[in-house]
């Protein structure tokens, strides 16, 4: 086990050209990085799951975070939420550009929607890490 970990640590860093296009496409289009690397089934499933979660969040009229400064908690929540939203790639960009971003409203369903939107982005971040590992040949 220790030897395996040692061998993994010794793996050379992959060249930028090998992983940047796939990770960038994975950010822009959820599941796109997997499709580029010929992992079609996984790419489609990721696209459906992340896209479905984002659309559900929008239909629940969840709010998009905007970076705000102030006390530490406000900064953390709003900046972290904004980064989470941004990780959804084109879903976030289209929502913002086409004016579908909702203002923050009180209500359990809207609150769930906001969490769905952020989580969709964070799940896409996990998918991007997976794309990196595949592109770097650390994973099949």
């Amino acid at each position: 086990m220790a030897k395996e970990n040692e061998e993994k640590e010794k793996q050379p860093a992959p060249s930028i050209g090998a992983w940047v296009p796939a990770v960038a496409l994975g950010w822009l289009i959820p599941g796109g990085g997997h499709l580029l690397l010929k992992r079609t089934g996984r790419g489609v499933l990721l696209g459906v799951a992340i896209g479905g979660m984002f659309v559900c969040g929008l239909l629940m009229r969840g709010a998009m975070f905007q970076p705000q400064s102030g006390d530490l908690l406000t900064t953390l929540i709003n900046t972290g939420g904004f980064i989470g939203d941004l990780c959804s790639g084109i879903l976030y960009l289209l929502t913002s550009w086409l004016g579908y971003a909702q203002p923050d409203m009180a209500g359990a369903v809207h609150d769930y929607g906001t969490k769905f939107l952020v989580t969709a982005g964070l799940l896409n971040l996990l998918a991007m890490v997976d794309v990196f590992e595949i592109a770097a040949k650390r994973k099949d």
Binding site: L45, M60, A108, V109, Y112, A120
Partner: protein, 60 residues
């Protein structure tokens, strides 16, 4: 068009989507992915019902 989901429906959808992604990104073979995705989903459901009942009983 809007969606008005109950707490359970929203939590169910959240669990489903999250389980799919967690299953795909964490394991190496399709069988392991399926098993882990199902395991994560069952854990979400167990937590949902467990915490729900705990709140119900705690509330009196």
């Amino acid at each position: 068009m809007t969606m008005n989901l109950s707490h359970f429906e929203a939590a169910f959808l959240f669990s489903l989507f999250t389980s799919v992604v967690m299953g795909i990104v964490t394991k190496n073979t399709d069988r392991e992915r399926l098993q882990y995705g199902a395991y994560v989903f069952v854990c979400f459901m167990a937590a949902l019902f467990g915490i729900g009942w705990a709140m119900q009983l705690g509330h009196g």
